[in-house]
Amino acid sequence: MLRLYLLLCFLTLVCSSVVRSDDGALHQWHFTKTHWKGSSVSCSDLSLVGKITSEPDFNEDGGWITGGSAAISIEGVKASSLPSQQITVEADVVIEKGQQWGGIISYAQDNGDYERGWLLGYNESAFVFWISTGGSLKEVVSDMPFTPGVRYKVTGSFDGKNIRIYVDGRVSGAASIDGNIVYPKWAYYAIGAYKDENENYPMLGRLFSASVFSKALTEDQVRARSGLKPAPKPIEFTARPVLRFTGKAEAQIQWSTALGSDCAVVYGIGKSLDRMIAAKGDKGDHVVTLGDLRHAESYSYRIVQTLGNEERVSPEYEFNTSLNFNVLRGGEGGAQGVVSQAAAIVERAGINRGYCLVIGATKPELLLGLSSVTEMSVVALESDQDTLSASRKYLYENGVYGSRVSIIKVDGINDKIPLTSCMVNLLVSLKRKDDDEIRRVLVPGRGKAMFLSEGGRIVTRDKLKDSGEWTHQYGNAGNTASSNDSLGGATGTADFAVQWVGRPGADFGIDRNPRMPAPIVAGGRLFHQGMNRLIALDSNNGAVLWAAEIPDLRRVNIPRDCGNWCADDHNLYVAVKDQAFIFNAETGRRRQVLKVLPEEMSSKGHDWGYIGRVGNALLGTTVRRATGYTSFWSKRMWFDGKGANDGTAQVCSDSLFSYELVNSRAKPSWVYRQGVILNPTISAMSGRIYFVETRNKKILASTKRRLSGADLWRDQFLVALDARSGKLIWEQAIDTQDGTVSFYLQASPEGLLLTASNTKFHLYAFDPETGMPTWKKSANWPDDHHSGHFQHPVITGGNIYLQPNGYRMNSGELITSKVGRREGCHTYVGAGGALIYRGKSRQISMWDRKTESVSSWPRLRPSCWLNTIPASGMLLVPEGGGGCSCGGWMETSIGFLPKSRLGGAR
């Protein structure tokens, strides 16, 4: 434990000792006062002299104040004298104001498509480092914003394969790129400005020093130059950590390591890691319970592991107790007998979460008992005022009234129930007999009513006819972007009533959930992702079933990748870096942790890419580490551009594999390895898996798997595999237009649809039985912004919709050019007779396929890709856009029920 304590001290005082090394800089500049002679400053390379037009000004902290004419631009520096195979650029800098084009030190030319050289700089809010290897520049952006006026040590490095940006010695962004630095024929060697042939944007801030190295400094070297000790080795998790709030002021963290060893968690409020608690468990499984957590506070934590004389440390993770959705358990004042009765009721019904309606409040002890033995919100109806008052008083005195139990006054106990339809998970009737009104309020397919006066007889409400699910990113494994939910015939917003409203709110996600995985719905449960966290809600009433904080969960830019989760009635399957978790869908208990297949791919640095479920097959793919997109800060990370450097590169997989699911347990089944699979094309239907892969030799030989460029679009094959065996059913060489902006594959009974987008949309249909092409079409983009140019087609009712057009799926015949006009980045989804999207005034809108009319919900904003889900007989919109700071958005999760399904509740 002493060692852990010392490690804790190290972590908290990590900046206390400055270890500075020279590391052999090619150019070293110092800008504090003593290094200037008049308006000139010298470099370690004496052939370079920086000059400005007037005497330099200095801040109290010694920094040279840049801005206006206070910038250095040296002409005549030959590119041949600069590093080409590897480089590190470092600056000790203060930025006073961010700007679109911000340069600290550079040798670059950026004129339209002509992008050459390198630049260490910044944008409106974050630091950037980019280099060019011949094509478009490759940029990495620091994952957190800088604070104006604060001094930072910023470092960019390129080792021939990887480009990284460090802030204060810590890795803050990375990407892979092959090749050597390609320089422009001519450029300024610029310091304190973004300056090239036709642009000059001075840096408003201060500089203390800058250096250029002709090698890529190692992470430890960069850390040392920022005063940090070498990074401890990372922990090798066999089960990556998951944090769950387990009480009002309590959270539990669970993880596993390959080697049995001592583990602990260091944590604290804000960034202070000033508390430590040793983990319990054995055989590599660890659990820590953090207690006495403060209400609505942000915490940081790290996991530390002791292996003999060696310490290993996880990255620093965060959680916030304002996202603790745990309910207060009912008081202990209830008579034991009544708690037992409540427990017996719950056990028989098998329902523990959601809403419980008790008809009759003559037994307040039973209500207290139900709040004690379940996590349900308990609501009782009572007609007698004296009984009502006495029961409320009893429950109030026992500390549960309002927070867990409430009683509603009704005129008659057998009258209309003043609740919306389809919302009650468990109804307990003391005296009332079964009737239509009772059935009306039950959750379809799952809600149960128990009649105590009839010996505890239980009835279950039938499932709604034509209700659907949304089990994968685009609705189903076939990626149709539609569900088979009829929405009760609703085709306009006026056809819906609000069914529930509330959590999660805007604090749950990443401001507008930029191109994040879609929510999914299965078994009446709605699953939604936020900022490295997920939540399970009851679709019908919005009750929180469970939630989990998963530090490595985040995935963005889904249009160029694939979703990271799927679900069925029993389980939620989530890909997290090199693993996949199987959660019990109802309770959130982690049932199993799976590795990518073949297993050695995990140790070779592969993550779990695609995840999908077909029959008993749980499918996955392997993606090389750090290939998927995770950055979200800045406009650039909204991935709305068209160029290769705008996030249009496709995330690709090296293998496709399957686990066989038997009784919610998964066991390895098969592995397919041939070409390089484009993740957005992986789709499945009727026991078959379809995808596009390239077998181009250059691509296969390359180390990169976030791919763009001509080779990606060569030697492509459309492949069909048998989901059970992994055996090839057919493969078809294809040569479509390049999908430089997006490239999607969808599988529907009427055919396969491949959609490539470059300067317009190109649609290709194939026979799912043979892979033979059937028809093709091209269509102009409606817009080249806000996803207009890479919207995902919808296949529903035998038609394809890709705004502004609709086509017959089986023939390609144009059926309309009046699809409701999108005005925002949310892509279209289909259900029943309507499409749902971000339309008029950027609000959630519906387009009636038959009448071609549009209706909208004022001030309701969707996320920036897909969060309007037609499933469970409803339209579900978990919050995804409230962090868009400009509009008057409702900033809430909401569920809509078609009015046709309200029954008598108007």
Binding site: H295, A296, W500, G509, R859, G883
Partner: protein, 477 residues
């Protein structure tokens, strides 16, 4: 005669010792302008008299704001709908009242002991404190009703729901009406005002009832609104905040919507005696907090205070917290100078445009070799140049004077609430409450609390502090 003598002695002593009369605090932030100002002078220092602790933090209507807007690079987004972060209290004649978002009730406590006198349940959460008048307690609930109960016993007198539908829907583990009353009930003359509203695509109701019997005087039905947060009122106008949209003005006589106050938003609002509205910006585009003073009638320039958390207006003075400092400001002079600077800026812009135009004229004349004309234009350019210089000088002078409008400045943690009581400023902060002399800015007292002190009330010699944990503290001299 003896009692008359004693009264005379008491009055003389009151004047000599500066003891002010005990005042009630009958509604949210003291009055319908939500001023947060009472003339009752506190007797410092204060000591903890009692505390009522809650086992559960308030169950707020809405979740907190997004952590950031990464796309726009905005951090520290303000919550624009946190109108119910604590159990705010009102206090009248030895009793303390508060509504609870946990137990769906209004509570009455004995102000001396904190002991509960009665509790009156509603059908849903009560998010704002009740308004008290003539022995009656008025409040709104998430169940869609406005209520009136007796202040002595909490017994129902009347309740009224404007929406026809009795359908309740789930929300955050509770049940609400799709038309919850989240505006509180505002009393003015014979009327009790409240709003029942939530979803912009449904109707919203602004209601005025006869406060004696709960009968409607008018029910104003409106579209595309989401009225939430405490209503404010002048003699003629009802102001209704909307959170992430601009506050709306209604004619108090007939309930007709008049207009919105462009550029403003949030639910922290107060109305000055000179009919200016203090509030938050219309959106979250600013990183960090901003408080604004706007003229609802339009025409007058807005004052914006970047980094400000709370602002309080007492006559011509404003007290404002920016950054780490609490400061006093002569707001009238500040506004006058701001307007003058703005007007001068407009003049300067016009002069510069004229100067530009003249120079172009001159250039053309030179090209056309119209030498006599050039001379005349040169003279005009000199004249305009002189005027520009003069205006620039006035702008500089005006800007310098702006700085002098600020009086004292004192280091102070970010306040969640700021009130004025008889020359003392009380600041509610994280984990503590502080008192500053309003004349000098000197700290006079502080007390510790658990949680963020969102609610402050000074009444009848007692300071009540409502915190984010649901606790209510009472400090007295």
């Amino acid at each position: 005669m003896r009692w008359l003598y004693l009264l005379l002695v008491f009055c003389i002593l009151r004047v000599l010792l500066g003891i002010s009369q005990a005042e009630d605090w009958p509604t949210y932030r003291h009055d319908n302008r939500r001023s947060g100002v009472t003339q009752e002078k506190p007797d410092l220092p204060l000591n903890l008299a009692w505390v009522r602790k809650s086992s559960v933090a308030p169950m707020m209507a809405w979740s907190g704001p997004a952590k950031w807007d990464a796309y726009s690079g905005n951090k520290d987004l303000q919550s624009m709908r946190n109108f119910d972060p604590a159990f705010f209290v009102t206090s009248v004649k030895g009793a303390v009242f508060f509504g609870s978002s946990i137990d769906n009730a209004v509570h009455c406590l004995d102000s001396k002991t904190g002991k509960e006198r009665w509790v009156s349940f509603a059908g849903g959460a009560v998010r704002l404190p009740p308004a008290i008048d003539s022995g009656r307690v008025y409040f709104g609930s998430d169940d869609g009703y406005a209520y009136c109960v007796g202040s002595n016993d909490g017994k129902p007198i009347w309740k009224f729901r404007p929406a026809q539908s009795d359908r309740l829907i789930p929300s955050n583990g509770k049940l609400i009406s799709p038309w919850p009353v989240r505006s509180g009930v505002m009393l003015s003359g014979k009327k009790a005002y409240f709003a029942a509203s939530l979803l912009p695509w449904e109707k919203s109701y602004l209601c005025a009832l006869d406060k004696d019997n709960g009968k409607p005087i008018y029910i104003s039905e409106n579209a595309n609104m989401t009225l939430q947060g405490a209503l404010l009122g002048s003699t003629t106008t009802v102001y209704a905040p909307q959170g992430r949209s601009m506050p709306l003005l209604f004619n108090a006589t007939n309930g007709k919507a008049i207009k919105g106050v462009g550029g403003m938003g949030g639910t922290f609002c107060l109305l000055t005696e000179d009919e200016l509205l203090v509030g938050m910006p219309a959106n979250q585009k600013s990183s960090g907090n901003v408080i604004q003073i706007g003229d609802p009638s339009g025409g007058q320039a807005m004052l914006k205070f970047a980094g400000a958390d709370r602002l309080l207006v007492v006559g011509e003075m404003a007290y404002i917290h920016q950054g780490r400092f609490l400061q006093s400001l002569n707001r009238i002079e500040y506004a006058r100078l701001q307007k003058r600077t703005s007007d001068l800026g407009a003049q300067l812009k016009a002069l510069k445009a004229n100067d530009n135009k003249l120079r172009k004229e001159r250039k053309a004349m030179v090209a056309q070799k119209k030498q006599p004309g050039v001379k005349g234009v040169d003279e005009k350019i000199v004249q305009v140049g002189g005027a520009i210089k003069d205006i620039e000088g006035q702008i500089n002078s005006s800007r310098q004077s702006l700085g002098k409008c600020f009086g004292w400045e004192t280091s102070c943690p970010a306040p969640y609430e700021l009130i004025f009581a008889g020359g003392v400023l009380f600041v509610g902060a994280k984990g503590k409450v502080m008192a500053f002399d309003a004349e000098s800015g000197k700290e006079k007292w502080s007390g510790d609390v658990d949680g963020h002190a969102y609610g402050l009330v000074y009444s009848d010699g007692r300071l009540y502090v409502s915190t984010s944990l649901g606790h209510i503290y009472c400090f007295s001299g």
